[in-house]
Symmetry: C2
Subunit: 307 residues, 2 copies
């Protein structure tokens, strides 16, 4: 069991979908990564920042799920990061209604002593310099550094992104972002160019179309499980990443073969995340349900051709 | 080895892609279905119509590939169906530049005597009444009827489409068309509604995102093989359908389990089709290449989780 450190946002979300809307509920990339990884019973610490308005009950829930929250700084006089968005009828696109950075604006992650020797580090979607500052604090070189990013950082901080990518083993990114970062339309060629920037593994997230994992010599595809109802897609990508890291931390095996299993588990957990608003489904999720859904993934993908 | 009958277009295409452009070359859904199915060494007959301008050499090529062309009517005083299109840089969308129906406008398919007892019938993308007229000519009820259609027929001949669907076992359709036909956004729910219209199996083609096969109780996913270069997507969907039918005809097994293999083979053959303009790659394709690519599909999709 490897120690896992994840840096990311812990936030309030207000979400509107064709199925309903919420008031401010718990959200944030660090929250979803933590909840997903916690399903593997690993030692996971979250590094983030919240304001004085952040309820203790949310921290208690995370602790109850085995998530160490010592690295979540509380700025009493500040307000927690708040995002509000509205999904379109197709659930694949959304409009951001409100983004209040609040305490996130001057976020300087501080890694707790106990997590400075974490074997796996997940750098959530933040400014590349913020991501780099987490690596700078590690006292031992992690076995695996996973980085998530987005087009916004390519637009405003591309040089910084290139610098931190040199220190990264796995990048998770969506298909359009992979094309933007590489200048290549074909995802095969995009992955090749991104390998050359540093990451030996490239995970391309395609939402309802699944995810592709590229190593320098192989590729693997994990479908998204087709669902009758997608209730709220918020956090699905972070849940995917948390499941990926959590599985690798549990199995202590970062081979390409085991990464295949890790993205299947990531896709598995993400398929639950979207079934209810916010973190609700992930909070109530039982291990038995995950194993049952693993069978559904096998039925969906495994074939036996005798040629 | 089951006898296979395919009705579809045999046509001239003129294609422009970011990689180049062609003069009038051989195209048409029937052509691509036939070439794909012929890779399985099955007895396949094509029913179509061409004009006096259609070169004998194209018919010779089909015959050399084991395709029976007795059902391709030649209207000496007419001109062959001609389609011209230009693909955008992303290769996923295209503009139709020219559509000259010519002899296709009054196409009345005539099934040759020798194919009226075919076990598998593939109804290419034509007017639903034209598709129905093929089934009317069969002297024995086929074991499996596969129908391809598109949004155009839903717009102008929906009632006729519903009538023929009652006689169909497998429908192949793209994701947007499945949503249009069913009125459901979720593909799981769309497939359920389409099952109720007749087809026990629904194959949803998602282009570069692969294909989904739904039975009334199960689902299976065949990815498209990620390629470094997609040269010309024309005919990929028909090649997929031809591979699907050809494999089922060869193995004489129309169980859901075997249909899984069939869509993997369909996706396999389609991945070759796009590598060169028109039918070129399919004409030169060797069985050894197909088997080698099958290994690539296994590496792409197969995992072994010990939980």
């Amino acid at each position: 069991m490897s120690k896992l450190l994840a840096v990311g946002t812990v936030a309030f979300d207000a979400i509107e979908t064709p199925f309903g809307k919420t008031d401010k509920i718990l959200g944030g990339s660090g929250t979803f990564v933590g909840l997903a990884a916690s399903k593997f019973g690993v030692n996971i610490g979250i590094v983030s920042v919240v304001g004085g308005d952040f309820p203790q009950s949310y921290l208690d829930m995370m602790n109850d799920n085995g998530i160490n929250t010592d690295g979540i700084e509380i700025i009493k006089e500040g307000k927690t990061f708040f995002w509000s968005g509205k999904y379109h009828n197709d659930m694949n696109s959304r409009d951001t209604l409100i983004t209040e950075l609040n305490v996130l604006e001057h976020f300087k992650p501080i890694v707790p002593e106990a997590y400075k020797n974490s074997k796996i580090v997940m750098l959530g979607n933040l400014h590349p310099l913020t991501q780099a500052s987490v690596l700078d604090q590690m006292t031992e070189t992690p076995k695996l550094v996973v980085l998530d990013t987005m087009n916004f950082w390519m637009d405003i901080a591309l040089d910084d992104l290139h610098q931190v990518l040199k220190r990264v083993d796995v990048i998770t990114i969506n298909d359009e972002e992979a094309r933007q970062l590489s200048g290549e339309y074909s995802l095969v060629n995009a992955a090749k160019k991104i390998h050359a920037m540093g990451p030996k593994y490239v995970v391309i997230k395609k939402g309802e179309h699944g995810a592709l994992l590229f190593s320098e010599s192989g590729m693997f595809y994990a479908p998204a499980l087709p669902l009758a109802e997608v209730f709220d897609p918020t956090g699905a990508g972070d849940t995917f990443a948390g499941g990926f890291c959590g599985y690798l931390a549990k199995t202590e095996n970062i081979s390409f073969e085991n990464m295949k299993n890790a993205i299947i588990y990531g896709s598995n957990l993400a398929s639950f995340c979207v079934e209810k608003f916010g973190t609700q489904r992930m909070e109530e999720l039982k291990n038995g349900e995950v194993e049952e859904r693993l069978r559904a993934f096998k039925e969906l993908t495994q074939f036996d051709i005798v040629s």
